[in-house]
Symmetry: C2
Subunit: 462 residues, 2 copies
């Protein structure tokens, strides 16, 4: 991208206003508010924010940007963690948060079609009336389009998969404003190139997702949870490996390291043993969840588990989950005024304990507070750097620890990100991970976005 000439900027804004009227917003506060996600990565206020409410709006805006070679950066909830929605001063921000319509709920087919800006919470509120749920997604509320764009997942991937397994079809606006449909409503298809999966996880660099068709699920008849402490990280992964191989269909298994347990004990007064801890969730019929729980309890005991605490009563379930839900606020409560930087990697589960152990040794050595929680059924874990206010030294150390974490994960056959995406923050990591495949990614980017106007600098560094 070259710098935009002032005349060009004036022309672009004039055309946008002519086509999209009051949806074009150049208010300073709005441009700043919509110019970035939740990461610590660099951003600038875009030259304008276009409040899109339809696929047609996105198409019109991109056609104008394309004619002028101006960058366009899509954003919806802005909950990303790697700068994937961060703007530059020369770009137009496409704000999809107003694309909040649930277009269709297919109870008979267990699917739903929504606009990209629909929040996961809103979707689930609408689905609940049909006895349905969409279980995929991060702990924070996020937009369906954003989740699809980053290939997001979360705690339930061990049972339900990630967005990759749950997006059936898309409406996508290409760089020049052309609208295409990918996939469809059938549960499977072998018809042509799988463009749905190409756009899912492309973080808006190949096209802008405007409508998403999802698999949805019946709300389980019953659910229960169990929490259990373990002497080592190895014993945690061993019980999870045995559980997965046995085929017990656990819907969640979350790891809390000793630092996290200590933090939530302080924050929420839980009094849990300060040890590596697993929380399991079971879903199914009332008898089935009891069977699942009993099967896993036996495996936990064999692997040195202690303090097994099983709950099927809603209040007790909430009490157990609190240790996980309070993790993030408990971290920042440890250091007044601090913020967190959450990074993620994913490794084969056989290497997970070793990867976490080496990473904890690294953070201890550097004196950086960085608790760990993990979606251990997938081999995915998050390291949350606690950044004291105004201490750039910790940020530098955290950056170096993050680099070593990625190297470690890659050396173990893992990936530099299990679910947060590449964004701005991990473009160098992507090159390390997929050196042989980068030319293919660049060829596809070039074929679909020859001017490089779609979310430039993200995924593939410019």
């Amino acid at each position: 991208m070259t710098m935009l000439a002032p005349d060009n900027k004036t022309a672009v804004l004039a055309e946008l206003r002519a086509g999209l009227g009051s949806k074009v917003n150049t208010d300073d506060g709005v441009r700043s508010a919509r110019g970035h996600d939740r990461s610590h990565l660099p951003w600038e206020a875009p030259m304008a924010v276009v409040h899109c409410t339809s696929t047609g709006d996105v198409s019109e805006a991109l056609a104008i940007c394309s004619r002028h070679g101006v960058a366009a950066v899509p954003i919806a909830a802005g909950t990303g963690l790697e700068g994937g929605a961060n703007s530059t001063a020369d770009s137009i921000c496409l704000d999809l948060s107003g694309m909040d319509k649930i277009l269709r709920i297919g109870s008979a087919d267990l699917d739903a079609t929504v606009q990209a800006g629909v929040m996961k919470s809103a979707l689930n509120a609408a689905l609940a009336g049909h006895g349905l749920t969409f279980p995929v997604g991060p702990g924070v509320d996020a937009s369906v389009g954003g989740m699809a764009s980053t290939g997001a997942s979360g705690t339930t991937a061990v049972r339900y998969g990630t967005m990759k397994e749950n997006v059936l079809g898309l409406t996508v606006v290409l760089a020049d404003g052309t609208i295409i449909k990918t996939g469809g409503r059938s549960r499977k298809s072998a018809a042509g190139y799988d463009l749905t999966h190409l756009f899912v996880g492309a973080e808006g660099t190949l096209g802008v997702l405007t409508e998403v068709t999802l698999r949805v699920y019946g709300i389980p008849e019953a659910a229960s949870v169990a929490i259990c402490s373990f002497p080592t990280l190895e014993s945690c992964t061993a019980v999870v490996q045995s559980t997965l191989e046995s085929g017990v269909p656990i819907s969640r298994v979350e790891l809390l390291d000793d630092v996290t347990v200590d933090a939530v004990n302080r924050y929420s007064g839980l009094g849990l043993p300060v040890m590596s801890t697993l929380i399991f969730e079971f879903e199914g019929s009332a008898t089935n969840i009891a069977d699942q729980g009993e099967a896993v309890r036996k495996l936990a005991l064999v692997n040195g588990g202690t303090g097994w605490d099983y709950a099927s009563d809603p209040d007790q379930i909430s009490r157990i989950w609190r240790a996980r839900h309070d993790a993030l606020p408990s971290y920042t409560a440890l250091v007044p005024g601090s913020s967190t930087w959450s990074t993620d990697v994913c490794v084969p589960i056989s290497r997970l304990a070793e990867c976490i152990t080496l990473t904890k040794a690294d953070t201890d050595r550097e004196g950086v507070l960085a608790p760990i929680v993990g979606h251990v059924g997938d081999g995915n874990f998050h390291l949350a750097f606690v950044l004291p206010p105004g201490d750039d030294g910790v940020l530098v150390k955290a950056g170096a620890i993050n680099d070593r974490l990625v190297e470690r994960a890659l050396s173990m056959g893992g990936t530099c990100t299990g679910e947060h995406g590449i964004g701005l923050g991990k473009t160098a990591s992507l090159v390390k991970e997929h050196a042989s495949a980068i030319p293919v990614m660049l060829a596809i980017k070039s074929a679909l976005d020859p001017q490089g106007i779609l979310n430039p600098g993200k995924v593939l560094a410019g």
Copy 2:
């Protein structure tokens, strides 16, 4: 593709022989045997067959083909049904059936890496020693590379998904011989464009798959099956919809139409009621499969099911599955000397009964024998035209019925193929289904294979 000049042909063969020695085979019988799949679609013997045993062989052969602009057509088991592996006289056939090494079984991580020519049966024989299984794939034994290339699935997709959900990573040789790796061994990744899914289902038109890393599964502790007759197709789909929404994790649910039941009764003396029939399979612990069976039995009764027959004893399980396994031979036994042409579509399950009913009316009206079996949990079904020997009139009628079947499926929000792929047979159907997305597919094809030498004419008609 232009016709190949004789000098060019001589030069290509000389270079292939110089590089690959006795792996280059120009024997007439071999060229004919490896020039086609199991479809009725056109093919010619290729100018040579290269018996590849390594990724390096494929790379060397493609580098030579690329330098001369000569087409390359990969094949392994040759069990395809849409001509996806059919050669032309100007092409080089890359025979991957000798790439039969199982490279790694990761018991601890529930994954395995195999060469593309490994047969599903050989993989499962090797996995069994580790207590593992790979449940995905068609009824016929097929190669892992072929299954990945067509995005295959089969009877277990309702529980385990298709090849799309079960390929974690690939080694791919590009048109110019470059070797790349996609994906990896972690259970999930949000790192860059999802090239794995792009190559899976591309039928060798974007690159040749040489190694595949798969998710594998623990062998279930127990399995049981049940068969049940229903008064209408609607009642069959209703019970399946209720089952899916309830979350009972059935591993298979197969529909046999009345024509199929009649055929297997004659062929195998089964004495089943000549009605729409479902066969369910349940997997899990011994108590769990009984619970699943009981839950589905209740739903079947509510929906008019009769003759519920449940079996957990291996002999009785085999007896019940026989109705499904004998379907294809029972069809050809109806007409001496006949062959079958199996086509497939997939629709939202809410439209499945209507789609099958209209299709049966069409075959009845045309007087064409075409029984139906379906993977009804996915909304996917197969119409098997029974083609009497030497009767081209039936082939013409079948072609027209197939065209109308595709139109019908598309009008219901379905796809022109759930699992057989596009190959040569459904290129026009693909254009109808994905009109808006075809330019994107062509742009990707052009970016990755600018000379159009990879399996030309397949998926995207030349």
